[in-house]
Structure formats: structure tokens, C-alpha cells
Amino acid sequence: MPAALVCLDRVDKSFNNGVTALQGVSLTLAAHEFITLLGPSGCGKSTVLRLVAGLDAPSAGRVESPAAGGAGAADTAYVFQEPTLMPWASLFDNVWLPLRLAGMSRRDAAEPVRAVLHTVGLSDFESAYPGELSGGMKMRASIARALVTRPRLLLMDEPFAALDEITRQKLNPDLLDWWRAQQLAALFVTHSVFEAVFLSQRVLVMGPRPGRIVAELAIDAPYPRSAEFRVSSAYAQACRALSLALESAQAGSDVASR
């Protein structure tokens, strides 16, 4: 097992309004690993990502990650549920942004930007504006912007939740291709059992109020995973196990909150 890239050790997070978002969350993410956090909305999945990205600080416990440690921001990329592109800038300029903030000129950035736009299949759209693109294309652009710095860690917060099922089914295997090609470690957040099973090596199931990890399941199927994987019995079994874990996590918290 390679060294851990991200390590959360008994992390609590409470907000000023008194809400306890996370309690005793521990997890490790190895380099090149793909982990998914699965849970109902409001269980603190996004909070975990924000802690790992160094955008928030834990109330208790320890967070180790490339971004939280301050080792260098370019090592970490973040993809939000919305594409979060700058509407006033062309696709090229949007993808250029992380390099530009690191001081790279437009000319020097041209090669990496065009390469990553090619990877996500948007070569013909570098001068288009976000408003002129479909939802799926905008999300591809958003991922291109995340990949352009060649990060070691990719954080994704329900990136495909707002897309239609057909677009999502196309983007899932594409994402796996990019993850493998760039040798990333990925921490993926979703509330879709199917997406979690299709993408990940390990799935951590979270329960709400307070957010905590209640179950863990390894998905041993080899990569590349194709459409055939979606109809295999291993896939069905994993989905069933995760659905049950999710149900008992919610049932437990419903009892606890009474």
C-alpha cells in the first residue's frame, strides 16, 4: 500500500451556528486511489472535501493533505456540483485560470490548456463562452480546469448530480480514464449508489446529524470498467450492500434524533 496522501484523524467540525457537521471522521486516501463518500444530503460530505482542500479548518482532530498542509495548491484540484466557470471568459481562459494564478503567461499556458481540452473532448470550443455550451460540456470544461495543473489530488463534490442520466453515463467512464491516465488520487462525493459503485475502489458510507462514517465497502472489480460492469453480478451485489448500509445509516440517525 503506497503512502497516504490524505489523512483525516478523528476530525470534528462544528459551525458558528452550533451545527455539528462532522464527528469523529477518520479516513485515509492513498496516492492513485479512488474513494467515494456516499451519503444523503446534509451529512457533511462537502464539509469533508472543504477540510481536505484547506478551505475550512477542523474544530478538532487532524487533517493532512497537500492543500491543508500548504505544500502547494497546484497539487489539489476541486470540482464543484456546478461547473463554476467564469461566464465572462472563454473556455481557454477558464482552463488557463489555475496556471494564470500561478503566474504562467497565456502563451506558455497554450500547450497544457489545449492538451487538456483535447483530453476532455472540447478542442473545438476553446473560444466559446460558458453560456454557449450544454451542461455536460460545461462540466467537462470544469474538469479540464481541474486537470490542467496535473494535480495529485482531485476533489469532486457531486460533479454530475445536476446532469441528465445519459450525460452522466458518458462522463463516468471518461472520468475513470482521466483518473488512470493522470495517476490521480480522487475523493469523490455523491448520493448515487450506482455512481459510487461504478467509479470507486472504496466507498465510505456517511450518516447524517452529526456527519460520520458508518460503513465502508471495497469494490474489487478491475479497471477499466466498461458498460459490462454495470450489468455484472458483482456490481449488483455492491449496489445492494451499499443501499442497505445507507438505509441503516439513515434509520439509525432517525432514531437518534428522536
Partner: protein, 254 residues
């Protein structure tokens, strides 16, 4: 009919109706001059109108420019410091809600130069829409984009240039459109209160003079010139807005 021609056709029809009404009903020109007479008056008095027009335009645009600088600077300060905004914003509101006609006589007492007094009056009216809109604009930057700029360790200058200014631009322009029209109104109003003092005077003074002599056609000529100037300002800022926001902002899509 072509929708672009519709306003022009309406306008010409109105003028024709007006002309016909005056001629057929034999309305005396000191009551209501026909458009043709207004035009003739305008041409005959061109020599006295042009410097006055220029003076009014100068006051309007100079104070609008100062309002842009002041409004944007104050908005930036407020955006940086919530406490500063809480402390000072009510003051800006007081300035805004007090009618400029009522403040003008006071300012004329305090400020020696009439031109400076007119500038100040107009500035007070024009700066508020720019301040209020720019402030909202600076605050409207997408919170996730803000996170992204933090994640990538953007410098404050990069954040200002690449995130805050573009986010605020549509709001600033909306404020500019309002302030453009208002500053012309304020420039004329303030001059009306000031009266025709000093060497340089604007269109308001021409209209006042004509009114004293019951020279109705000349009053109409001055009004027509003012209206045309207002429409030009409106057009100019709409064109600027299209140019700056044209391709990306929802307000400019058909």
C-alpha cells in the same frame, strides 16, 4: 412591420399629428408652437444654444465621471470593510433621498464658483446608483469561484482583477445607465435653482430666459435639445453595455 422602425414611425406620426393640430386649430405659437417652428427657432438660435448645450453636457459628464470614481472607490472600501459600510452607508442614503432642488441653494451659499456648485449637486445625485450597484456587484462573485481563487492561492490583486471586477461589471453598468440619465436631470435642476449667474450658463438658463419673455417656441427648442441629449446618453450607455457585456451576460441575450 419591422420592430426596429416602430419607435421611429410612432415618433414621426406624433410630430405630424402635433403639426396638423396646431395648423388646423390655429393655436397661437405662444401657446403651443408647431414642431416646424420649434425646429426653425432651434436653427435660428443655434449660436446661443450651442455654448449653453455644451456647458450642460460638460457639467453632466464631468460629474458623472467624478461619480464613477467616487462611487466605485467608496463601494470598494465598503466591500473591504463591513463596519465602514454600516457606519457610512446611511449617510449616502441621506444624501440620495434629499431632493437636489432642496440642497442646491445651500450648496450655492457654501461654494463660491457656480460651476463647482453645479458639479457638486449633480455628483450627489449621480454617485449613489453607481455606489449601490457596484457594491452589490462586488459582493455577487460566485462563492465557489472565490473558493477556487483561495485554493489556487490567488493574490489580492489577482482576485480583484480576475474575479471581483468582472463580477461587478454588469452591476456597475446598470448603475451607470441610471446615473447617466439622472446626472443630466440633476445638472439642469441645479442650474434652474442657481439661476443664470456667472459667465457660463447652460440650457436651463436659456429655457428660463425664454420663459421670462414668453418665448414659447424657444422654450420648446431648449427642451427638445435636452430631450435629444438625454436620449443620446441613454443610447451611448446601452451601446457601451453591449460592447462590454455583449457575449457573456444574460442581460444582453435576445
Amino acid at each position: 412591420m419591422n420592430e426596429r422602425l416602430l419607435p421611429a414611425v410612432t415618433f414621426i406620426a406624433l410630430l405630424l399629428g402635433w403639426e396638423l393640430l396646431v395648423r388646423l386649430a390655429h393655436i397661437p405659437h405662444y401657446t403651443l408652437p408647431a414642431p416646424s417652428l420649434v425646429l426653425k427657432t432651434l436653427v435660428d438660435n443655434f449660436g446661443s444654444f450651442v455654448p449653453s448645450w455644451w456647458f450642460t453636457v460638460k457639467i453632466t459628464f464631468l460629474s458623472l465621471a467624478l461619480a464613477c470614481i467616487g462611487g466605485v472607490l467608496i463601494a470598494a472600501l465598503f466591500a473591504l470593510s463591513r463596519r465602514l459600510e454600516i457606519a457610512l452607508f446611511p449617510l449616502a442614503v441621506v444624501l440620495q433621498v434629499t431632493p437636489v432642488v432642496a440642497i442646491a441653494p445651500l450648496i450655492l451659499i457654501y461654494v463660491q464658483s457656480t460651476t463647482a456648485a453645479l458639479l457638486l449637486c449633480t455628483w450627489i445625485v449621480a454617485f449613489f446608483p453607481i455606489l449601490a450597484n457596484t457594491l452589490v456587484g462586488l459582493r455577487s462573485a460566485d462563492p465557489h469561484l472565490r473558493d477556487l481563487f483561495r485554493l489556487y492561492r490567488a493574490t489580492p490583486l489577482q482576485r480583484l482583477k480576475l474575479l471581483l471586477v468582472p463580477s461587478a461589471l454588469p452591476y456597475f453598468i446598470a448603475g451607470l445607465k441610471i446615473a447617466g440619465g439622472l446626472s443630466l436631470i440633476a445638472a439642469v435642476t441645479a442650474e434652474m435653482v442657481a439661476g443664470a449667474a456667472g459667465k457660463e450658463t447652460g440650457l436651463a438658463s436659456r429655457i428660463f430666459e425664454a420663459s421670462f419673455r414668453t418665448d414659447t417656441p424657444k422654450m420648446f427648442a431648449g427642451l427638445a435639445l435636452l430631450a435629444a441629449t438625454g436620449v443620446l446618453i441613454f443610447w451611448a450607455f446601452n451601446a457601451l453595455s453591449r460592447r462590454l457585456l455583449g457575449r457573456w451576460h444574460a442581460s444582453q441575450r435576445d
